[in-house]
Symmetry: C2
Subunit: 155 residues, 2 copies
């Protein structure tokens, strides 16, 4: 999997969060994930299937960042990760993947998206089990950290 | 989503675990998931996309059951949920979904599967964010509990 393939997810995420929640994420250096484990408190995951390849995308937030995004979108800050927060994380997952899908379509890679799944639990870790490389991008922000992972078979 | 749709996942799971790990799971009553939250320690998740609908499947294990399955498959019990265990959970997720995909294909529902994702973390919860009903089936066994969830848009 090359960087051409991860960039659509990166730019879609920055766009979604600045538009929806006035939150600027600062991307770190993309890494090929090997032993590295990214922890977080709430994650959105989605599968993607296309004629050339299949794969998965995940976005993981620190609790503080997820709650701040809620606050900036709705004007009210939940005390903890509740159903509204997991709904929002599912929606962000859909929007980021939908944006990336459009950008990848322009490059000739077509995909259909499955439905998102949200995981909550303090300090959980995500492992993508595709046959291809797993690319991780860490992000920092004024309200906490996030990271995305993208992995596709055979690209 | 009707029971006709969940049964292929149920029978595929029972078959995979009894064949691969000589482990008999005892299914409880399927439930439409509303507020109900199923916790577990390691989960495999996968997206499915077809021409009629799309959705997601997850299977969540207690740590004790995941470690026992490893022990029965490989003859050695890991101390905790390591990469071998998450690989196995990813493989079980693929096998169960592949078996269900074949059974659903016989009923006229075709799907392509995305790649699996494995989540580990004590007591995490999974929420499927499709537009359809979420069906949960709990399982008990001699070595601990598991549960599966299946959710599809518009069936």
């Amino acid at each position: 999997m090359n960087v051409e393939f991860i960039n659509p997810f990166l730019s879609s995420l920055l766009n979604v969060l600045s538009t929806m929640a006035q939150t600027e994420l600062k991307p770190g250096k993309p890494k090929i994930k090997k032993d590295e484990v990214a922890c977080g408190d709430v994650s959105g995951l989605i599968g993607m299937v296309g004629p050339q390849t299949k794969g998965s995308f995940s976005i993981t937030f620190d609790e503080s960042l997820a709650l701040t995004i809620m606050e900036r979108m709705l004007g009210e800050r939940p005390d903890s990760i509740n159903e509204e927060v997991t709904d929002m994380v599912g929606e962000i997952t859909n929007m980021v993947t939908g944006g990336a899908k459009n950008l990848l379509g322009e490059k000739g890679y077509d995909f259909n998206m499955a439905t998102p799944i949200v995981v909550s639990g303090k300090g959980h870790t995500i492992t993508h089990k595709s046959e291809g490389a797993k690319i991780l991008i860490p992000f920092t922000s004024d309200a906490g950290n996030a990271n995305i992972e993208v992995s596709f078979d055979k690209i």
